[in-house]
C-alpha cells in the first residue's frame, strides 16, 4: 500500500470531504424541515391532506434513492429548474430523507400514549397547547434513534453524488485514482478505496456517538432514577 498517495493528495481529499459534509448537512437540514411538515400533515384530522401527504411520502420511499438522484438531475429542467450535480444530490437526498423522516415523525406522534392527550382534555387544556407542550416534547425522544439511523443513511448516500459528477469524497477518490494511474501507474484503487472506507467508518461512528449523547440529554427526566 502506498500511503504517500493519501498524503500527497491530502488537500484534495479534504476538499472533497468538505463537499460531502456540506451535502450531508444541507440534506439533513432540508429533510428535517420536510419531515416535520409532512409528518404533521400525515397525522392531521383532515382526510384529503392526510391521504395526499401519505401518497407523496410513499412515492419517494418506494423509488431507489439512486434513481431519484438521477431523476432530479436529469428531470429538473423539465420543471424549469437548473440543478448542478451538487444541488441535485442535495435535493434528491432531501426529498428522500424528508419522506422517510415524515414517517418517523408520524410514528413518534402516534406513539405518545393516548391517555396523555386524554388527561389534557380531562383537565380542560386546549388542543393546541396539548400538542405543543405535551405531545411534541414526548415525541422527540423515541424519534431520535430512528432519526439518527436516517441521518446515517443520508451520510452514506452523499456518495451517490459521485454518479452524477459531484466531486464529493467518492468522486474525489476516483479522480485521484485516475490521475495517479495515468502519471505513476500501478493499482492505486485498493489504497484509496480503503482510505475512504475508513473515513466514512469514522464519520458514521462519530455520528452514532453523537446521537447516543443526544438520546441521554433528552432521555434524562423520563428515565427511572
Amino acid at each position: 500500500m502506498s500511503l504517500h498517495l493519501i498524503t500527497d493528495n491530502a488537500g484534495f481529499f479534504l476538499h472533497a470531504a468538505r463537499l460531502s459534509a456540506f451535502i450531508f448537512l444541507m440534506s439533513v437540514l432540508c429533510s428535517t424541515v420536510i419531515s416535520l411538515g409532512f409528518g404533521g400533515i400525515a397525522t392531521s384530522q383532515i382526510g384529503f391532506l392526510r391521504v395526499g401527504a401519505r401518497a407523496i411520502i410513499e412515492f419517494f420511499r418506494d423509488v431507489p434513492l439512486i434513481v431519484s438522484v438521477f431523476f432530479v438531475f436529469f428531470g429538473a429542467p423539465m420543471f424549469g429548474l437548473q440543478l448542478g450535480p451538487v444541488e441535485a444530490t442535495i435535493v434528491s437526498l432531501s426529498l428522500w430523507g424528508g419522506a422517510n423522516g415524515a414517517e418517523i415523525v408520524r410514528g413518534g406522534i402516534c406513539a405518545v400514549p393516548r391517555h396523555q392527550l386524554e388527561s389534557c382534555r380531562a383537565l380542560g387544556v386546549r388542543g393546541i397547547d396539548a400538542f405543543f407542550f405535551i405531545v411534541v416534547p414526548q415525541a422527540i425522544r423515541p424519534v431520535i434513534p430512528a432519526y439518527a439511523g436516517l441521518c446515517t443513511i443520508l451520510l452514506q448516500s452523499t456518495s451517490l453524488g459521485a454518479l452524477i459528477g459531484a466531486t464529493e469524497l467518492l468522486k474525489g477518490a476516483q479522480i485521484v485514482i485516475e490521475r495517479s494511474a495515468y502519471f505513476h501507474g500501478g493499482m492505486p484503487g485498493i489504497t484509496v478505496y480503503t482510505f475512504i472506507l475508513l473515513v466514512y467508518l469514522a464519520a458514521g461512528t462519530l455520528l452514532m456517538r453523537g446521537t447516543r449523547k443526544l438520546e441521554k440529554v433528552f432521555g434524562a427526566p423520563v428515565r427511572r432514577s
Binding site: 431507489p64 452514506q156 456518495s159 493499482m187 461512528t205
Partner: protein, 223 residues
C-alpha cells in the same frame, strides 16, 4: 426533451432492453435476499451462542457494513477482491457485496428480535428442563422469526432497491439499462417512467408477499 414530449414509440422500442434489465434486477434481488437472510441467521446464532472469536468478528462485520456507504463497498470489493486473489466478474462481486450488506442489516433485525423476546419465554423453557440448543432452535428462533418478518421484509425491499447501485460497476440491471439509454439518447422522461414503473411493480409485489408471509406465520399467533 426533444421532439415529442413523451415518445411512446421510443419507449416501445426500448422495452425489450429494459426488460432484460428488469429480469436481472429480479434475479439479483432474489439471490441477495436469500443469501442475506442466511447470513442473518448464521450470525445471530453465533451471537446468541456466544461463540468466542467468531462473535467479535460478527460484531465487526455488522459495524463495518452498516456504517459505510454501500456504493463505496461496491467499488472496494470490485477492485479489492482480485488483490487477494479472488477473480470474479462484476455480477458476482455485486451479489457478494449486496448480500453482505443486506446480511448485516438482517442480522441486526434478528438480533433485535431475539433480544426483545420476553425473558419469561426462555425461562419457561429452561424451567421445563429443555436443552438450550433445542430451546434456541424450536422456541427462540421460530418466535423471533415471527416478530422479525416486517423488519426483514423492509430490509429485503431495501436490498432490492439498492441493487440499482450496481450500475456503478456495470452490472446491466434495470437502472443501468435506463441510464445507458439516457446517456445515448437523452430521452430522460421515457426511461425514468420505465424505471418508476419497474421499481413500483417490484416493491408492490414484495409488499404483497410480505403481507402473505406475515398472515401465514401469524396464524394463531397474534391476538
Amino acid at each position: 426533451m426533444t421532439g415529442t414530449f413523451f415518445d411512446w414509440h421510443y419507449l416501445w422500442d426500448a422495452t425489450p432492453l429494459l426488460l432484460t434489465g428488469l429480469r436481472l434486477t429480479v434475479v439479483l434481488a432474489c439471490a441477495c435476499i436469500a443469501a442475506s437472510i442466511a447470513i442473518g441467521y448464521i450470525g445471530v446464532t453465533i451471537l446468541f451462542l456466544e461463540v468466542p472469536v467468531l462473535r467479535r468478528l460478527v460484531r465487526g462485520y455488522i459495524a463495518l457494513f452498516r456504517s459505510t456507504p454501500l456504493l463505496v463497498q461496491i467499488f472496494f470489493f470490485y477492485f479489492g477482491l482480485p488483490e487477494i486473489g479472488v477473480r470474479v466478474d462484476a455480477l458476482t462481486s455485486g451479489i457478494i457485496v449486496l448480500s453482505l450488506w443486506g446480511g448485516a442489516y438482517q442480522l441486526e433485525n434478528l438480533r433485535g428480535a431475539v433480544d426483545s423476546l420476553p425473558r419469561r419465554l426462555i425461562e419457561a423453557a429452561r424451567s421445563l428442563g429443555l436443552h438450550p440448543l433445542r430451546t434456541y432452535c424450536f422456541i427462540i428462533l421460530p418466535v423471533a422469526t415471527r416478530t422479525v418478518v416486517p423488519a426483514m421484509m423492509n430490509t429485503a425491499v431495501s436490498t432490492t432497491k439498492n441493487s440499482a447501485l450496481l450500475t456503478a460497476i456495470g452490472v446491466p440491471e434495470l437502472t443501468y439499462v435506463a441510464m445507458d439509454n439516457i446517456a445515448n439518447s437523452a430521452r430522460g422522461l421515457e426511461n425514468f417512467f420505465a424505471l418508476f414503473v419497474g421499481y413500483l411493480i417490484i416493491v408492490a409485489v414484495m409488499s404483497c408477499m410480505s403481507s402473505l408471509v406475515e398472515a401465514r406465520l401469524g396464524r394463531g399467533f397474534a391476538r
